[in-house]
């Protein structure tokens, strides 16, 4: 068994938890301002999922960029790729289901995994105009296995009902998504406090594991709707020493992943 790390931070736990969701047969595309997903993809590929295909910066097929620096769509991300994927190819593969995995973040997330990154308040005259739906407006409707991450697990982020559905999650729950002909959907929500999944029948968000030092009460207090609580709540699986070493020394020595914890309003 791999040695368990003792010294790690919440950003590292989030990256490792997300990395472990990726499988060797997956083809994963990353979006804009996605340091945590990109670090997770690189980590998965360096550990349990060597066969994973990463379309880096939505362009560079199987690229091997330098350690994380700036922008997650930058041309520097395409380094040593086998192909610059033309965007019309990318869209056909995304539509057709060849690229099946995508990670999403947003300003509001509701109990059925719908995500809002468009407005707080009314669309026409919003209280807060957010950046916009961008790729999530596509990916939620295109049968993706969606992993949601957020670094702000608060009642402002986790709301009973999103003000605007930028990304189609399980819609009104139950078989609503299926009835609309949409396959897959949100798989997991990884936050700074815990990991959540969706109860298979109701598609209602459900606590899955708690990060070290976080209590059930705290999570419930920071969530704007009633979470489903399973009988057993294990701690989130800790990283291994090797995962933390790779992350700190090889993949993200500059700590770009920590940028996502800045107190700026949410971005796409």
């Amino acid at each position: 068994m791999a040695e368990i790390a003792r010294d790690y931070t919440v950003d590292e736990l989030m990256v490792v938890t997300l990395a472990r969701q990726f499988r060797s047969e997956d083809i994963v595309l990353n979006g804009t301002v996605s340091f945590i997903p990109v670090a997770a993809i690189m980590l998965a590929r360096a550990t349990h999922a060597p066969g994973l295909t990463w379309v880096a910066g939505a362009v560079g097929v199987d690229a091997y960029p330098e350690p994380l620096s700036g922008n997650t769509l930058d041309p520097t991300m395409w380094r040593r790729c086998v192909m610059y994927l033309p965007q019309e190819h990318m869209w056909s593969y995304v539509h057709r289901g060849v690229l099946e995995t995508f990670c999403i973040r947003g300003a509001q997330i509701d109990k059925y995994g719908n995500v809002n990154n468009t407005v707080i308040g009314e669309y026409a005259r919003p209280r807060v105009r957010l950046p916009g739906s961008a790729g999530m407006g596509d990916m939620g409707s295109l049968d993706k296995r969606i992993f949601i991450w957020t670094t702000t697990h608060t009642p402002r982020t986790f709301v009973e009902r999103v003000d605007f559905r930028s990304c189609a999650g399980y819609l009104d729950g139950g078989d609503a998504r299926e009835r609309l002909g949409l396959k897959n959907g949100p798989q997991l929500v990884i936050t700074n406090l815990c990991v959540m999944d969706f109860e298979p029948e109701s598609k209602h968000m459900r606590l899955k594991s708690l990060h070290p030092g976080v209590t059930l009460e705290e999570v419930q207090a920071q969530t704007g709707f009633r979470l489903l609580i399973p009988k057993e709540i294990p701690p989130t699986e800790p990283p291994t020493v090797e995962e933390i070493r790779l992350l700190r020394e090889v993949i993200d020595p500059r700590g770009m992943r920590k940028l996502e914890f800045r107190s700026t309003p949410a971005r796409a």
């Binding site: 965007q87 916009g132 407006g137």
Partner: protein
């Protein structure tokens, strides 16, 4: 469509006259990459009004245009400064009701532009099903059933911009525009085909003979181009891969300044209205030191 031997080389100021108040302007740009920002500064100085700006990913240039009062409507999938955070002028203007944001999913907007490029009344996608985006504009996106299977798809109405504005690596004086590598982001590929008029700023104007030696790099043919302007570093502070990287320092300066209306105004005064030439602009944003810095990608 001018003849193939028409000389289309102009100054920024001359080319800006091809953009009229009230026009729908398709503006290239992908976060911190490939945006005709020297031209955007010229549009601001020329005092254009009531523009509808179409960008796939709205960025710093759009925020400047909004701050300068040039814009009435935005058609985009997202507007921000990428890792530098919110586009505050955009946010403020939409929250105040001064600018309308017409938001689509990416493939909806691409489908609208492609339909425009093809002269088709609409094209279809599955993008956006189940979202609230569809309810925003039934006049341009609407659910229809496949006549063969009954499956529901989203019909996206053709969008034909009045002008497309791009920055590219090089062109000849007739408007044969080359990219290295060929357009990877679809705006450079679709905008010129969809728009009625096309303005291209380039790092360098080269001889027609050089174009004919390397036709594999040509992305836009002369018969679709109305103006060519030579502006080295014309995408600054955005990047033009592989020539130069984006200017982190200026992005950060704008991200900070634009948190307030006053800061935004001061930024525009200093960097947009102030410089009387492109060289003076480059000097103000860091001069030689900056030009050396952005040639390194990291």
């Amino acid at each position: 469509m001018a003849a193939k031997t028409a000389d289309k080389v102009m100054t920024l100021t001359e080319a800006a006259t091809l953009v009229r108040d009230g026009d729908t302007v398709a503006l290239q740009g992908m976060g911190t990459q490939m945006s005709p920002l020297a031209f955007v500064r010229e549009l601001i100085r020329a005092g254009k009004r009531d523009l509808t700006i179409v960008m796939i990913v709205g960025g710093i240039g759009l925020d400047w245009l909004i701050a300068a009062g040039c814009v009435r409507r935005v058609i985009a999938i997202i507007v921000n400064l990428d890792e530098f955070g919110m586009a505050h002028a955009f946010r403020r203007a939409v929250e105040a009701g001064e600018v309308v944001m017409e938001e689509y999913s990416e493939h909806q907007l691409l489908s609208r532009l492609l339909a425009g490029a093809y002269g088709l009344p609409f094209l279809v996608t599955r993008s956006g099903l189940g979202t609230d985006l569809l309810a925003l504009h039934p006049e341009t996106t609407r659910i229809i059933a496949c006549p063969f299977t009954g499956q529901e798809v989203v019909a996206c109405r053709a969008l034909v911009p009045d002008v497309a504005i791009l920055h590219a690596h090089r062109a000849d004086r007739y408007g044969n525009v080359q990219f290295f590598p060929k357009p990877i982001w679809l705006d450079a590929d679709v905008f010129p085909r969809a728009a009625k008029r096309v303005i291209v700023t380039v790092e360098e104007i080269v001889e027609n003979e050089e174009i004919r030696r390397t036709p594999i790099h040509t992305g836009i043919p002369y018969f679709k181009v109305d103006a060519v302007v030579e502006v080295p570093y014309g995408a600054h502070p955005c990047s033009l891969y592989p020539f130069y990287a984006f200017d982190r320092a200026l992005f950060q300066e704008y991200a900070t300044a634009s948190r307030t209306v006053e800061g935004t105004r001061a930024f525009l005064d200093r960097y947009v209205y102030g410089p009387t030439t492109h060289a003076e602009y480059l000097q103000r944003v860091g001069g030689a030191e900056m030009l050396l810095r952005i040639r390194k990608w990291e």
